[in-house]
Amino acid sequence: MERRRFVKKLLAFVIPGGILGVILKPSTAKAKDYDATKHYYGMGIQVNKCIGCGRCVEACKDENGVSKEPFYFRTWVERYTIKKNNEVIVQNIDPRIEGIRESFGEREILRSFFVPKLCNQCDNPPCVQVCPVGATFKTDDGVVLVDENRCIGCRYCIQACPYGARYLNPVTETADKCTFCYHRITKGLLPACVEVCPTQARIFGDVRGSASPLTRFKRMNKLHVLKASLNTEPKVSYSGLDGEVR
């Protein structure tokens, strides 16, 4: 009798539990609509078009909820001024300050320009290689992401990135960086920085595509990547990149 009562009680839990489990199973339908293997994303930057307005920096922080303080950047813009005496001065433009404050006398300048920077979403990413728990990884569509639930905050990836693209998110205490606005590109939108650039200095697209602004960019320009000798195989290409840019 004891055993029968026990089995009855057990079934009373198991059967409704099983039904509930089936009903409440989270749907994975959303993920199924987007096939990551059909895309491979990259970016092109035309240095000659950047006016250094900093709207990309602001838009990125707005879109991705990055802390507004000037220590955490997923993307930033550098200003290079090469003087006639070959002295090179580099500054970060601060989008919070309207306009760009410091200027040099015209007589001294040989050439001057702005260079937008961001995570290069490398194909041979040193950050992915060194993560001890595999919290950062490259997706099938070529974007390097960070799992904020697995990252232990050891900061090894931040040390390993040659481009200074990573930082430690002060809220989650995990490593963070540009994701190419993954939540936007997988829905057919452009990353926020590309969206708001007034001069189309940033071009986003599928590196394997045949008819796209990125493909035209790659056809019509001689391309550079940053720190090519480190063999990180960056997927962000620059046209008009000056030799003084690091």
Partner: protein, 246 residues
């Protein structure tokens, strides 16, 4: 066999027990723990899903066209490369709830000045003004419609777009020369500048009219065209807007 087991030192037998416990623990972790704790591909999948579900703030440029005709006005003018959100800020919420959530309507001078203030690092050809001198205190939109921004009158000064060159020339010995002295500028260049370009002098004799030995212009430095500068055009060595001598 009978003599084997007793001949193993007692110490080793004790240690063997410890080893069994450790190996057992390892096997437990490896095979008994649920996959969700361990399997990397599950973590990757959940991270990708989490990233894809982040909130979207920028709606994208096409969305505005559905309701606002200004989009078409913009597409016909110089601001066609700007996304609406470049100036109006994030608009996703507005696109989902147009009546209650409104995007920014920038009307202050500082807003336009951020892109259009003169800066030596900005590329030549980008329209730049000196905000302190150009109609100070007046809102930009008083004369320039933001969706179709060319000024009410076509600028007769080249300086509006070629600010860096104008400023450089202004502190050089060529200060008294009009741009049109050396460049022939068809009227279309002021309307569609990238399609129709101004000319640059193609012969050494052009500069010779002021700087050649036989020139009647007084006070200009003179050289012998037949011997000076080998086969080069004058502006290949002397930057005409700041014509310094070695």
């Amino acid at each position: 066999m009978k003599n084997f087991f007793p001949s193993i030192p007692e110490a080793l037998k004790r240690l063997f027990v410890v080893l069994v416990v450790l190996v057992g623990g390892f096997l437990l972790v490896r095979f008994v723990l649920p996959a969700s704790l361990k399997d990397s591909s599950l973590h990757v999948k959940s991270t990708v899903e989490r990233e894809m579900e982040r909130p979207i703030r920028y709606a994208g440029s096409d969305v505005c066209a559905d309701c606002h005709d200004e989009y078409n006005v913009k597409q016909g003018g110089y601001h066609k490369n700007l996304s609406c959100e470049t100036c109006h800020g994030t608009a996703r919420e507005h696109s989902e709830n147009p009546a209650e959530v409104k995007p920014n309507l920038p009307r202050m001078r500082e807003f336009c000045v951020r892109c259009h203030a003169y800066n030596a690092s900005r590329p030549t050809g980008f329209p730049q003004i000196n905000p302190a001198a150009h109609n100070p205190l007046k809102p930009c939109i008083a004369c320039h419609k933001p969706h179709d921004p060319p000024p009410p009158t076509v600028p007769h000064e080249c300086q509006a777009c070629h600010a860096e060159i104008a400023r450089t020339k202004a502190v050089s010995p060529h200060i008294m020369l009009e741009c049109t002295t050396c460049h022939k500028v068809p009227h279309e260049h002021k309307v569609t500048p990238r399609l129709v370009k101004a000319t640059i002098p193609a012969e050494r004799e052009f500069c010779g009219t002021c700087h050649g030995k036989g020139s009647e212009v007084k006070e200009t430095p003179k050289i012998d065209l037949s011997t000076h500068g080998e086969k080069y055009l004058c502006w290949q060595c002397h930057y005409p807007h700041m014509p310094e001598v070695e």
